[in-house]
C-alpha cells in the first residue's frame, strides 16, 4: 500500500514531500526551563564538542550534531529533552498559565506533558494521564527526570476520564495529543506504515473523537482544547474535528505557527468539512525538514 500516495492531492510539491519522507530525521532537543534556561543550555553546548543549530521558530530548541542526544550532560541534568521538532508545536498553542488546571489526556511518554509543565512554571496542577500502563512508566520517568513537580499522573481511559480523584470539577485547558497512525513519524520509524490499513483509520478515528469530546466536556466554558496528531490522514484530523464540532459546544480558533505549514482542509474524498477547519494547521516533512504534524486549537463554548 502506497500510504503517502493518498496525500499527493494535498501537497503542492509531491517530489519534495516523498523525498523528505525518505530522509532520516535530524536530532532535536527542547530546553526544559524548569531546570535550565536556553542561554545556559547554549553556553554548555558551546563549551562541549557537540555542534548545534537553533531552529529559530521557537526559542529553546536546538538541533544537535550527535547520534546520541541522551548521552550529554544537558540530558543527564534534565536541562533538555530529546524529541521530534514538531512535537514542540502543541504545548505553546495550548499556552497553559502558571496556577491553572491542565489535562494532558494522552500524556505518555511525556515530551509534550513536560513541555506543558515548563510553560506553567511548574506551578498549578497538570493531570498527566495515559491509558497504557506500559507507557506510564516512561511518562513518570521523563517528568521526574525533568524535575516536574506539578504533575499528578493517572492511568485511565481518557474517553470516560473522571475528575473524581481531585477537588476540582473541570480543567482550564486540555491537550489531546491523540493516539494515531503516526504516518508523520515515517522518517523516525520506517515501520510506521507496516500496520497501516483503512480499517485502522476507522477505529482510531472513533477513539480520537471520543477522547476529544471528553476533553471538551471536562474543560470549563471559555477554556481551551488543543487537538494534535502526528499523521497526515484527514480521517484522523479534520474529519474527527468536524464530528466533534457537531456533537460538542466548541469552535475552532486561529493561532500563529512560525513554521511553514498548510491550512487544514475542508474536503477529502468527497466528504466536506466545516469551513472553520481551515484554521487548523498541517505541517508536512518537506516544508521545514521535520516530521509531519497536525494541530488545531478549540475554544469551549460557542
Amino acid at each position: 500500500m502506497d500510504v503517502l500516495g493518498r496525500y499527493e492531492p494535498l501537497v503542492e510539491n509531491v517530489e519534495a514531500f516523498r523525498a523528505a519522507c525518505e530522509r532520516p530525521l535530524p536530532s532535536v532537543v527542547r530546553v526544559n526551563t524548569i531546570k535550565a534556561d536556553a542561554e545556559r543550555a547554549r553556553r554548555t553546548l558551546e563549551a562541549s564538542e557537540i555542534g548545534y543549530e537553533s531552529p529559530g521558530w521557537q526559542p529553546g530548541l536546538f538541533g544537535l550534531d550527535t547520534e546520541k542526544p541522551g548521552a550529554t550532560w544537558g540530558s543527564f541534568h534534565g536541562w533538555w529533552h530529546g524529541q521530534e521538532e514538531v512535537s514542540a508545536i502543541p504545548a505553546p498553542v495550548l499556552d497553559p498559565q502558571p496556577g491553572e488546571r491542565v489535562w494532558a489526556a494522552c500524556g505518555a511518554p511525556g515530551s509534550k506533558a513536560s513541555h506543558l509543565a515548563a510553560l506553567m512554571d511548574d506551578s498549578g496542577t497538570l493531570v498527566a494521564n495515559d491509558r497504557s500502563l506500559g507507557r506510564l512508566s516512561a511518562l513518570r520517568f521523563n517528568l521526574e527526570r525533568l524535575g516536574v513537580t506539578c504533575a499528578a499522573v493517572t492511568n485511565r481511559d481518557a474517553r470516560n476520564f473522571s475528575l473524581q480523584p481531585f477537588d476540582f470539577a473541570e480543567f482550564d485547558r486540555a491537550l489531546v495529543d491523540a493516539p494515531c497512525s503516526c504516518e508523520g513519524t515515517i522518517r523516525k520509524n520506517p515501520d510506521a506504515f507496516e500496520e497501516w490499513s483503512e480499517g485502522y483509520l476507522d477505529s482510531v478515528s472513533t477513539l480520537q473523537r471520543s477522547i476529544t469530546e471528553r476533553a471538551i466536556q471536562a474543560t470549563r466554558e471559555g477554556g481551551r482544547v488543543v487537538y494534535s496528531t502526528c499523521t497526515f490522514a484527514p480521517e484522523e484530523n479534520e474529519a474527527v474535528l468536524d464530528n466533534v464540532l457537531e456533537s460538542e459546544d466548541c469552535r475552532l480558533v486561529e493561532f500563529d505557527l512560525a513554521l511553514d505549514h498548510d491550512a487544514g482542509i475542508t474536503e477529502w474524498r468527497g466528504e466536506e468539512f466545516d469551513s472553520s477547519l481551515r484554521k487548523a494547521k498541517r505541517v508536512y516533512p518537506h516544508q521545514n525538514d521535520t516530521g509531519g504534524f497536525f494541530c488545531a486549537r478549540l475554544e469551549v463554548g460557542g
Binding site: I34, K35, R40, R43, T44, A47, K68, G70, A71, T72, W73, S75, F76, H77, G78, R101, D122, S123, G124, T125, L126, A128, L136, R140, F141, L143, E144, R145, G147, V148, T149, C150, A151, A152, V153, T154, N155, P165, F166, D167, F168
Partner: protein, 184 residues
C-alpha cells in the same frame, strides 16, 4: 545526622493508640507536626524541612510551593499542585526522599531539582569522577566531612548537583538509579 548508615530500622512510634498503618496504595499528605500525626512512623512536613536544612543547608523556603506525600512505606513525594488527601493515583510530583530508615536518603531527581542551594555535605567531583559517578561506578575519593548520603556535584556553567553518593570508608558509592545512568 552524622556517621554512616547501618542496618536496622529507625522507625519510630509516637505511642498514639489510635494510629493506623500506612496504606501503600495511595498518597497521604504528611502531617504538619507530630501532634497531627495519625499514621505510625509517618514523618511530618516539619521533620522533612528540618532534615534538608540540617543535612544539606537547603533553606526551608526552597520547598514553599511543595506539599509532601507518602506512598509506599517511607517513600516521600514532593508535589506542587492541588490534590485531596488521600488520593489513589499513579504519581504525584516527584519521588523525593526515602524515610522510615535510620538514615534518610534523597533521590537523584530531588537533589537535581532542589540541591542547588545546599551548603554542606556536597562533594564536588572532577570531570572524570563526574563521568564515573553518572555511569554508576563506586570510586575511592578523599573526603573530610561526614559519612553517609552526600550530594555529588560538578562544575558545569556553575556548580550543578549530579545526584546522591553514599560515602563510606574512603569510597563514594554512586546511587544513580540504573535508568538514569549514562556513559559518555
Amino acid at each position: 545526622m552524622t556517621g554512616a548508615p547501618e542496618p536496622g530500622s529507625g522507625d519510630e512510634d509516637d505511642g498514639d493508640g489510635g494510629e493506623r498503618e500506612n496504606d501503600g496504595s495511595r498518597f497521604d499528605r504528611l502531617p504538619p507536626s507530630p501532634e497531627e500525626r495519625r499514621v505510625a512512623g509517618r514523618p511530618t512536613r516539619e521533620e522533612v524541612l528540618e532534615w534538608w536544612a540540617d543535612r544539606y543547608g537547603v533553606p526551608r523556603e526552597t520547598f514553599a510551593e511543595q506539599s509532601f506525600w507518602e506512598k509506599g512505606s517511607g517513600k516521600i513525594w514532593a508535589f506542587a499542585g492541588e490534590s485531596p488527601s488521600p488520593v489513589a493515583i499513579e504519581g504525584l510530583g516527584l519521588t523525593f526522599l526515602r524515610t522510615r530508615q535510620e538514615y534518610w536518603k534523597p533521590t537523584t531527581n530531588a537533589v537535581q531539582r532542589f540541591g542547588h542551594t545546599a551548603t554542606r555535605n556536597v562533594i564536588e567531583l572532577e570531570k572524570g569522577e563526574a563521568r564515573a559517578f553518572v555511569a554508576g561506578h563506586d570510586q575511592a575519593i578523599e573526603w573530610d566531612g561526614d559519612w553517609g548520603y552526600l550530594i555529588a556535584a560538578h562544575d558545569i556553567d556553575g556548580l550543578e548537583p549530579l545526584g546522591v553518593g553514599l560515602y563510606l570508608h574512603g569510597e563514594l558509592r554512586s546511587q544513580v538509579p540504573k535508568g538514569r545512568r549514562r556513559e559518555f
